[in-house]
């Protein structure tokens, strides 16, 4: 099993550009999450999907959108990138909501 995979690993964007971060899991997990990690601030939840076809806002959803059309995939979109969105983005999944989370390797995003 590959576990949780994320693409791309690195990305540089210019302010105003849009992009989609991809996350896939092969563990048949029901719940998936998107976090951002900034120095000294731990992990902050952006959006989550408790089950296939449902999505909800987390702590810091502004400027992002998500879609979960397939159980194994959770996409994070940046509508119009801003320098404040420079961060490391982690996707995670768990078998059910509230259970152990398995994290992907992360996407390092730089917005100029």
């Amino acid at each position: 099993n590959a576990g949780v995979t994320q693409t791309p690993k690195f990305q540089v964007l210019k302010t105003g550009q849009s992009m989609t971060l991809q996350c896939a899991q092969d563990m048949n997990h029901n719940s998936m999450y998107w976090y951002r990690q900034d120095p000294g601030m731990g992990l902050r939840l952006i959006y989550y999907s408790a089950s296939e076809g449902t999505t909800d806002k987390g702590e810091v959803p502004d400027g992002y959108n998500v879609s979960r059309l397939k159980k194994q995939n959770f996409l994070l979109g940046l509508e119009s990138a801003a320098p404040s969105q420079t961060s490391v983005y982690f996707c995670a999944s768990s078998y059910n909501w509230g259970e152990t989370q398995y994290f992907g390797p992360g996407t390092r995003l730089l917005v100029l």
């Binding site: 999450y33 976090y35 000294g40 601030m41 731990g42 992990l43 902050r44 939840l45 989550y48 987390g58 982690f90 995670a92 509230g98 152990t100 989370q101 398995y102 994290f103 992907g104 390797p105 992360g106």
Partner: protein, 108 residues
Amino acid sequence: GQQVMQIPQYQHVQEGEDFTTYCNSSTTLSNIQWYKQRPGGHPVFLIQLVKSGEVKKQKRLTFQFGEAKKNSSLHITATQTTDVGTYFCAGYLNKFYFGSGTKLNVKP
């Protein structure tokens, strides 16, 4: 709103010394999880505590959940260089609330 505070932010120890990190929540939690993130890596699950007053051990690591289920600690006995990384707690109450992490550096 719900917050999980974690202290200290950094800890530098000599190899062989002990290490402790603490998490405190403003409200009672359903459970708390602990994760370790190696430098340049991603968080990896260590353990979950559910019961009031629960204590769990994993080799040199001891995890405690407070009686009121508002605080938790992770204690490492006789640190080794392999313990280097950032340790996060994640309190769960309908959602996960991560502490800001404690970065542990171990000098050989």
